[in-house]
Symmetry: C2
Subunit: 187 residues, 2 copies
């Protein structure tokens, strides 16, 4: 009936994701996206609607990317040790070839904190809430902890994870790992 697309949406979104991951939303322009994705603006708009659509698709691609770590974390059964392993896995991503520094979710969470974009905010909040629930679940595996302690420790770890992701943009792997070790000394 008509011409075929000369690109695969998953492939070009993976490249867009890397750009957003490195530069954030506002500091990534359509011109940069055009160059990095390797397709024309028209194609970007016909596939994803607008810049915001490209970003949402990139966030989803990022979630898929980190899904293996997340699944491993969810299905683990050792309690606190699983959380620690999750932290290690999270910083290890940054050293994979082609990876950017930091965490797209955390960066987005920070960048959109002062914006009025309920869609992105809701997405980030659900992600954080989900992570918190898993952490609570693992903490409870140790038994012998009262509810207050569990919640306090969960908040602590969630914030530590947040800080770890933010700092991983500028700190070294070694510093990250030292940080993780000391974080879990108080759990």
């Amino acid at each position: 009936m008509a011409r075929k697309k000369q690109y695969i949406e998953e492939e070009v979104i993976a490249k867009a994701m890397n750009l957003f991951w490195r530069n954030g939303y506002e500091n990534t322009s359509m011109q940069m996206l055009e160059k990095e994705m390797g397709i024309n603006k028209f194609s970007i708009y016909s596939s994803f609607g607008n810049k915001h659509g490209v970003f949402i698709a990139s966030l989803n691609a990022y979630k898929v990317k980190i899904n293996s770590i997340f699944d491993k974390f969810k299905s683990a059964k050792n309690g606190v040790a699983d959380i620690k392993q999750f932290f290690y896995d999270s910083v290890a991503i940054n050293d994979e070839p082609g990876s950017q520094k930091g965490c797209l979710v955390t960066s987005t969470y920070n960048e959109f904190a002062v914006k009025e974009d309920e869609m992105v905010k809701a997405e980030m909040n659900s992600f954080m809430d989900n992570l918190k629930e898993i952490i609570i679940e693992k903490l409870k595996m140790d038994g012998s902890k009262d509810e207050d302690t569990v919640l306090k420790q969960a908040n602590f770890l969630l914030l530590a994870k947040h800080g770890l992701a933010a700092a991983s943009r500028v700190n070294t792997r070694k510093e990250m790992e030292d940080y993780i070790e000391m974080t879990f000394e108080s759990i």
Copy 2:
């Protein structure tokens, strides 16, 4: 000989600082600065050169603003307790009237991590290095700690402070304080 300035540079920079503190560098436009500072673009440029100049002046104003906390921290003589107090003082700033969320230095550190602006980067690095030295000094007051432990703990605390500042944009005061308490349990 000529007309007098109808504004005080310190006053308008204080307003610019609040804007950068809230929105970051790129997400603050000259138009926003014009409105917030209450003076014309011409006046902004004649006083501070360009947008970058306004930002540098804002960073300096921020340093002055947090100087009282910093001086108190430097001159304290109790060791680890001083660091903890410094953390508490740092989060307390955010609840002062007219204050913005988070920390301008940390936000700037993160935003400029992927930029090529050696001037701002050098300024941020010197700030962080300075903070680290003070932390090391306080840690050594306790005596009985070997050099390696001190450095490891200093890195941990610096990263914790970084994370605390990043998270304070989206977390509550209570969560911050719980986090501080647990952070110092492992020191």
